[in-house]
Symmetry: C2
Subunit: 456 residues, 2 copies
Amino acid sequence: MKNMFFTLLVLATFNSLLAQKKDSAVIRQISNHILTNHTCYEDLRYLCKHIGHRLSGSPQAEQAVAWGKKVLEDAGCDKVFLQEVMVPHWVRGKEEAYVLTPQGKKIPMVISSLGNAVGTGERGLHATLIKVDHVDELKRLTRKDVEGKIVFFNYRFDQTNINTFNSYGPCVYYRWGAPSEAAKLGAAGVVIRSVSSAFDDKPHTGSMRYDKKYPAIPAVSIGNTEADKLEAMFKEKKSPEFYMKTTCEMLADVKSYNVVGEFTGSSMPKEIIVFGGHLDSWDIGEGAHDDGAGVVQAIEVMRTFKQLGIRPKRTIRAVLFMNEENGLRGGVRYAELAEQHAENHILAIESDAGGGTPFGFSMSMDPIKRKKIQSWAEIFRPYNIYNFEEEGGGADISPLKNKFKTPVMELLPDSQRYFDMHHSANDVFENVHRRELCLGAVAMAAMVYMVSEYGL
Amino acid sequence: MKNMFFTLLVLATFNSLLAQKKDSAVIRQISNHILTNHTCYEDLRYLCKHIGHRLSGSPQAEQAVAWGKKVLEDAGCDKVFLQEVMVPHWVRGKEEAYVLTPQGKKIPMVISSLGNAVGTGERGLHATLIKVDHVDELKRLTRKDVEGKIVFFNYRFDQTNINTFNSYGPCVYYRWGAPSEAAKLGAAGVVIRSVSSAFDDKPHTGSMRYDKKYPAIPAVSIGNTEADKLEAMFKEKKSPEFYMKTTCEMLADVKSYNVVGEFTGSSMPKEIIVFGGHLDSWDIGEGAHDDGAGVVQAIEVMRTFKQLGIRPKRTIRAVLFMNEENGLRGGVRYAELAEQHAENHILAIESDAGGGTPFGFSMSMDPIKRKKIQSWAEIFRPYNIYNFEEEGGGADISPLKNKFKTPVMELLPDSQRYFDMHHSANDVFENVHRRELCLGAVAMAAMVYMVSEYGL
């Protein structure tokens, strides 16, 4: 009996070593294939250069849906289908601004309306600027201090965090909620220092939301070097005047789609692994890192499985979500449909942190599942993927998590350059590196492969 | 007795935890300081934009020595001194080339003479091209096949390695030794596919060496897209003619210097920790990643220690080595002087793998020392520095290792982009990222701090 137990133990260990060797070989094959062909990079070039930026509701977003569907079909998916969803349709219109220095000099400024904001209309808005470095400072002001003025939120991106997403968080408040805080005190408009790590004049846009209790006032961003100029004027203890004209507006909702490509699992088709990025982008730059990268990586996983003849045991699904940027309607719709069809998602993975060199996956799931993934560390190590400790997940897959407690993950790429580009004119194809993008696709494919083989 | 042992154990553990907490706080301070001020990035801008490339023996190399000395003095080093060394003085001269297709069309090609190569002279060299994909293929050819021809070495950079330095190694043979292999069979000249991961027309230069048994023949590189064009012509089974004119030549040696900045150790001044990069660069591009990055990071370590009032227990020394690229004379000289002065180097660290985001240190030292460094892993982990397993060390510090068995290390930055730029016109300041460069300086400073506190 003891001998038999020992024999079984030896056999089990031997089998597990064999399996690990096989898995490592498959992932090496995946990696070689992607790095040699780098088709995802060419996909990204097409998406950025032939379609361009693609805000929800725009003609380019519609083109991107058709493109995504075709590319997934060409990749040889078992099924490709669209999920209809109504999305917001915000349009930017014209933008113009200058600051009038205390000495009477007009300095033009490049501005970007914050996404979803109202415009000033053609007549524009001319008012005295007041500077607020932190929201607590605003809260100490009275209505008399603020009324009729343009509030300049001068909160800086913290350069000391190693993971720049930790600096993004606190800044986002100034883009998302601070305009209504200013409106509460009667402000006529808001200018924010961009949520940006770059020292340049490029404004970064991004979603904002009005608190319905207060008037909706125009809100724009300016680049870091422009914000420095304003700050310098305040150091002279004089308040500059600011002029801005924006004609952005929210139009009626538009019909759009998530794009889904699927391979049906060979032995456990009811267990679904979903992964993807979002197809929509902001309407400046080309949405290359945010989130063209995630989109083409998800497509690359499907193409690679097909071309290498890897038949997943569980169902795998690449989803190109619509409307992450200013509504999350695609992500919400995906979870609703999953509920309607009583689908069982065992894992959702997002790639929406840029196309930089990956170093891990953040996750939000119970510790036993995380431990299972951590037990694969040796398989990922040759690809410099070592971090499976962080908490995280992506926006598009958060409705799945909220509705079903689906375990979620997000690819962790190096974040040093990301917020130089994010939501700005800097986010173009040329700023994505071929090999870095490919390594993200390799990491995604490897994770999808492991979970499709062994479940969670 | 048992109780006392237990008390001592608790005290020791407590002290060690306290020390770790203090060290973590110091390193956090270092990191915040460097990321907020990013002075090394401004140093690099100056070096690249005001001095430019700086091949050994050039006027710019001389300017770089004066600049390095001044910047180290301004950083507040206890001592700054120069180490005289005679260096080779190779000059590029004119370059011109075209390929004559089998259809008689002239296609101009951007070429770069390999460093140390002889030129064709003003008359140039016109000959039939033969293509060799691998040196084994050359070895199967006879003198009759090769004599009077220009050999096109078409060996490709392997895109499948995750660490691109592993692809660099095998390619370098074609730059370094293959020209003489061709000369052995009577070739009149050599063109190599650049040692480059980029798909562009930029040729990458770099050192070569002639085997004195065979004639020294002209040798140049071409970019990957140009090499693809040649390859395509060979697919038509016709041999193109190639013309190249190069007037490069080796002049008499020139006097130059290593630049050294030092803080004398407060309690163990005889134990020296040396770290640095090389001040010379190739004569195309700006030597920004190779190795402006290493130079400014080493300077930043000294400046940061001074500005934060960190007094190292052991002597620390930043060295800007001269002539790594085409002679290693500076590194050799440093080790000779260390011997003359009977200096005790406990560690040498090089940063010469570019200014990308760092993820570890490679090392060459006995396993006990490596284990000691690995025991600090937790201290480095918040900076995404996790890999202390690789074998390695830098060229400039190899003479120290060879002469004294000095433990050596090299900073490991992400290598995905490095060989797109290395030794080419792409290696310019704009291609170095501020935060990535700074994180390399943080990693260097943290390692220097830990070894200066605890020895090896």
